[in-house]
């Protein structure tokens, strides 16, 4: 991550005047007509009074605002300067460091242009135009001139005028006739929102018969996820599972999801593990480090989040090191003892957990076998005889076992030592009873690394070898441990990471020979030094006259493994999986760190005043989904409007969680016969917040229909208002209007109001209006808690139940995201 000052540092002075407006236009090298448009708008802004209805806006000081900053600039210069609550929320949601830095304005890594560039390819084939509005002004000035501000002219309201005067950024989308975009346009908005300034301007034109929809990124089936206590295929991940996250700690899964996916699928193979590859959809963020110089190995690694298309061969994938340490001095094992005629009685065995016991476990994993009714046996080959003595000593030390039985195997000249004790057999049986089910128990995975070294030592002595051979090219050396247990192999690799050693994992397919597959953990190059110290074998600093090197890097947080190759294929309707993880929102897939779906949008700006205009032509369909979670110091005053021609369909899904004050009434003008419009909105107002949201529907033509469903929640003294206008003009015969607005008030301090306005000037129409205000009752909370559900979880359930009618109409990915955010809000309220 580059921490240098951004290249583009241009900021107008605080406050707005004619000079500032001219300057914005000049900086952007705009055509004259746009400069005139801005200046005209500025005059209107000056003349228009502040709205006196809706949220109280008297705190806004127009002179205390920066009106233009280059996209890479934010008001805070460092992460630490961001307001504390926003920082906390970022942490809670788990926004990746790269994004954090970008949002704080200290990094220019996230360049909106490149994001668009990588996405545009797919759309270009279909003739879709998609770029930021500034670029559109340069590339498609005629289209902009024709449509911009036709739906929301500067004179519409004070904030539309302000936006028109100093707009910057936003999206421009043109979908040609009949084109159906199966792409996640909304996801693009997500990414792009984070790059937007305060006054973005979006213009969307859906030409006749076109359609736009939304998809989000996830993993394919079979991907192995590192959990406590196992490596699980992603399709088996459930809510409540503890997964290892990119910070090396375990966090519980909040919920899992599966959905069909069509589109590009990336297969990323990497060195260090030839047994699996990472298969991801094109949206999925992956933790990686860029290769600094293509021919050289990195000396330093700057980790960042990127999409598969951002990755190149030789870049490094990142393996987080498990940092959980839970060391115990003693452990009590549940063992039982049979008594003649009396059945089995519990007879727990207390064992000191120290290096000795760990080394004994290592020996067992390599060479042990167990007979449950009576004994544990360690068998060694003839050349490993020296370890027999060690095993005997350990049995004596750990279990006070004086008597063991030795046996000589004439067949292979090997030796075995047998300890005959039922409890012992039961303890060791817990580590697996056959060679391919052997594994390290979870408690040992998180033990003190010093003790773990002993386990590795025992395992290596039994199953390992030191490969050293002279080839033509010189000496080749490596340590290897072989096992038929896949789980044991992965666990050994993960423990070695904790000990500062990067091992590689290979699989030898032997099924066809009628044998079990063999897994090899290999340690080569520079990593041999440290491994040699662990197992007590001296390794020279140099080999063939050179210092030992390695393609793998490691520091205290991560191991870095180079990408072997990246393949892209197109898939149709395959199931893909994803899940959400508490706090970090990250997990390990195929051993490397990846991120859950896109995080919500935040900004520390104090005034956000966007304008969104959408033109839906004959028979076209467009859905615009927003889930906004602004920081609590933002005034969110947005004008959104669509015009819908004959048989067209416009659908606004609008969810507002954050902000200090929101005034937002997505609207549509149903201009053509049979046009349809829909607004589904959810608002949540917490402490100090006022969400004044609603909808606007204007029926101009016959057979038009509008449907408005609004759900609002107020808590901790927050306030929500529904403000709606439905206007049916004369001649809009046979039209349908349906308005439903429900409010849920969580406590005595909070408030909710409804301001519905209906102007119906046509008699031949059907109008339906429903409104309901509900209080969250203590009784309902008691009902749920009396079932064993925690209070905050019960609140979340009731709130999610309340907004369900809207949420079920939202695409699954958004519904999941929305539920997650609501739960976060509820957790916050309980502290």
């Amino acid at each position: 991550m580059s921490k240098t000052t951004p290249k583009y540092v241009y900021t107008t002075k605080k406050g707005l005047n004619k000079r500032v407006v001219e300057n914005i236009s000049y900086q952007k090298k705009e055509p004259l007509w746009m400069k005139d448009f801005r200046l005209r708008s500025y005059e209107i802004f000056k003349q228009k009074p502040m709205p006196t209805w809706g949220a109280d806006l008297s705190d806004i000081d127009f002179n205390d605002i920066y009106y233009y900053m280059k996209a890479t600039e934010g008001p805070a210069n460092t992460w630490d300067e961001l307001p504390e609550n926003i920082r906390e929320t970022y942490e809670k949601i788990g926004i990746p460091q790269a994004e954090k830095d970008y949002l704080a304005g200290v990094s220019s890594q996230y360049d909106s242009e490149t994001v668009y560039e990588s996405l545009r390819e797919d759309l270009e084939k279909q003739g879709v135009l998609f770029c930021d509005t500034d670029t559109a002004l340069k590339k498609y000035p005629d289209i902009l001139k024709q449509y911009l501000a036709t739906l929301i002219p500067p004179a519409d309201n004070k904030f539309a005028a302000l936006n028109s005067a100093c707009w910057s950024g936003g999206s421009f989308i043109y979908i040609p006739k009949g084109v159906k975009v199966e792409f996640p346009l909304q996801a693009y908005f997500h990414i792009q929102m984070q790059n937007m300034g305060q006054f973005e301007r979006t213009l969307i034109i859906a030409d006749e018969g076109s359609e736009a929809s939304y998809v989000e990124g996830c993993f394919t089936k079979g991907t192995l996820i590192t959990t406590n206590p196992d490596y699980k295929p992603i399709e088996n991940i459930q809510k409540g599972d503890n997964v290892l996250t990119h910070t090396g700690t375990y966090k519980p899964v909040r919920h899992a999801q599966v959905r069909p996916y069509s589109g590009d699928l990336y297969t990323i193979e990497f060195y260090g593990d030839s047994t699996q590859a990472l298969e991801v959809t094109k949206e999925h963020p992956i933790l990686f480090a860029k290769r600094n110089r293509s021919q050289d190995r990195n000396k330093t690694y700057n980790v960042q989040w990127g999409k598969p298309s951002d990755l190149q061969q030789k870049d490094y994938l990142v393996m987080p090191i498990n940092k959980e340490i839970e060391s115990q001095d003693y452990k009590v094992f549940d063992t039982v003892r049979g008594r003649a005629g009396k059945g089995k009685l519990p007879s727990p065995t207390k064992v000191k957990i120290d290096g000795s016991f760990m080394r004994l476990i290592g020996y067992y994993l390599a060479e042990g076998s167990v007979e449950l009714r009576g004994y544990v046996r360690f068998s060694f080959g003839a050349h490993e005889r020296e370890y027999i003595h060690d095993v005997k000593q350990l049995l004596k030390k750990v279990f006070s076992l004086d008597k063991t039985y030795d046996a000589l195997h004439s067949k292979n000249n090997g030796v075995s030592v047998t300890a005959s004790k039922v409890e012992l057999a039961q303890i060791f049986a817990q580590f697996g009873t056959s060679s391919d089910t052997k594994h390290i128990p979870q408690w040992a995975m998180t033990e003190d690394p010093e003790k773990q070294k002993e386990l590795i030592k025992g395992l290596f002595r039994g199953d390992g070898n030191y490969y050293a051979k002279k080839h033509k090219s010189g000496f080749k050396q490596a340590f290897r441990i072989n096992t038929t247990s896949e789980k044991l192999a992965r666990q050994t690799r993960d423990i070695l990471l904790r000990l500062g050693v990067v091992a590689f994992l290979n699989k030898q397919m032997r099924r066809e020979q009628g044998r079990k597959d063999m897994f090899t953990i290999g340690i080569a190059g520079a990593h041999m030094k440290k491994f040699g110290e662990i197992v007590g074998i001296k390794v020279s600093d140099k080999i063939n006259g050179h210092y030992r090197a390695s393609m793998f890097g490691i520091d205290k947080n991560f191991a870095y493994v180079p990408i072997k190759n990246i393949k892209k294929k197109t898939v149709k309707n395959i199931p893909v999986y994803n899940f959400s993880v508490k706090k970090n929102e990250t997990y390990l897939a195929a051993g490397v760190a990846v991120h859950n779906c896109s995080a919500p949008i935040y900004s520390s700006n104090s005034l956000h005043s966007a304008v969104v205009e959408i033109i839906v032509k004959r028979g076209a369909r467009f859905r615009y989904t927003t889930i906004q979670n602004w920081s609590n110091n933002v005034y969110n005053l947005v004008t959104k409007r669509a015009i819908v021609e004959e048989e067209g369909f416009m659908d606004w899904i609008d969810c507002n969680l954050g902000s200090r004050k929101t005034m937002k009434y997505p609207g549509f003008i149903l201009k053509g016969k049979g046009a349809k419009g829909e607004v589904l909105s959810v608002a949540l107002a917490g402490k100090g917040q006022h969400q004044d949201a609603g909808a606007k529907a204007i029926h101009l033509a016959p057979y038009t229909s509008s449907r408005i469903i609004s759900k609002s929640i107020s808590k901790d003294g927050g306030r929500t208002s529904y403000r709606g206008l439905v206007y049916v003009l004369p001649g809009a015969k046979k039209s349908n209007v349906y308005v439903s607005c429900d409010a849920l008030i969580m406590d005595e301090k909070s408030r909710s109001d409804t301001y519905p306005t209906m102007k119906v000037k046509e008699k031949d129409v059907s109008v339906q209006h429903e409104a309901q205000v509900e209080r969250l009752s203590d009784e309902k909370l008691f009902y749920l808690t009396s079932r064993g559900i925690k209070k905050e979880e019960a609140e979340g359930m009731l709130v999610n139940g309340f907004i369900k009618p809207v949420i079920k109409e939202i695409p699954l990915e958004y519904a999941v995201e929305m539920n997650r955010l609501i739960n976060l809000e509820m957790e916050g309220s309980v502290g």
């Binding site: 008691f782 009902y783 009396s786 559900i789 209070k791 999610n800």
Partner: protein
């Protein structure tokens, strides 16, 4: 298994229960009788931990040898206490399956749970469609009580308080409910709160307790219930 010691309960400023001392044992069925407003439901809610019920400092509730007086309702439920409500509440957007899934957390595999719930529903003869609807919304009195029973069965508590399980239930449903209760009684303690004898035709209590004006006025066997049926509560005045 459950001991109430000097239990005095206030709701707001009004004292509803006065100094109640009772012991409930494992594998036994208790019936608590009393006229309307005598404090029966308050007793049930106080045991389950309704936060609006204030206990006096001298009061104590001992469950499995531990005081649960200070525990929140969810913790009490986790320890094995279940209250079947007199008038179960409707919850929009939450069905019984979701409720139980969250209540049980990772203790039960969701698929196993689903099958289990469906089996109970079949046994109690309720429409499986009800399981997928918002809980208790548009359900009849009998259906609501059956949904309470399904929750009790899935959560497998040690102590179940049935607050008027027989109210608003027709004869056929009552028979099914009783059968279901008896079938699952092993190792549990049941407290049946009722103000008339209906359910006792099908379930014979080990002990009958009479509560009036917030005090236990009489304890006895099954015959006590028959006596109340004939003579009413006046004899305790």
């Amino acid at each position: 298994m459950l001991k109430l010691k000097n239990l005095t309960v206030k709701i707001g400023k009004k004292t509803i229960l006065h100094n109640i001392n009772l012991t409930f044992q494992k594998n036994k069925i208790y019936a608590i009788f009393g006229p309307n407003g005598s404090g029966k439901s308050t007793l049930a809610h106080a045991i389950a931990g309704n936060p609006l019920h204030a206990l006096s400092p001298q009061s104590n509730i001992i469950f499995n040898n531990k005081s649960i007086k200070k525990l929140s309702p969810d913790k009490r439920a986790q320890q094995g206490i279940f209250l079947s409500w007199q008038a179960p509440l409707s919850l929009s957007g939450v069905n019984v399956f979701q409720l139980l899934q969250i209540a049980l957390g990772s203790k039960k595999n969701p698929l196993t749970l689903k099958k289990e719930i469906e089996a109970y529903a079949k046994e109690l003869n309720i429409n499986t469609e009800l399981l997928h609807r918002s809980l208790n919304e548009g359900a009849s009195g009998g259906e609501k009580k059956k949904l309470e029973l399904i929750q009790a069965a899935a959560l497998n508590p040690k102590l179940i308080i049935f607050d008027e399980i027989d109210t608003g239930v027709d004869v056929d449903a009552l028979k099914l409910i009783s059968k279901f209760i008896l079938k699952n009684k092993k190792g549990k303690t049941y407290i049946l709160i009722t103000h008339y004898n209906r359910i006792l035709k099908y379930i014979t209590p080990d002990k009958v307790l009479v509560i009036m004006n917030g005090k236990i006025v009489k304890q006895g066997g099954k015959t006590l219930a028959d006596k109340i049926e004939k003579q009413g509560y006046d004899m305790f005045k």
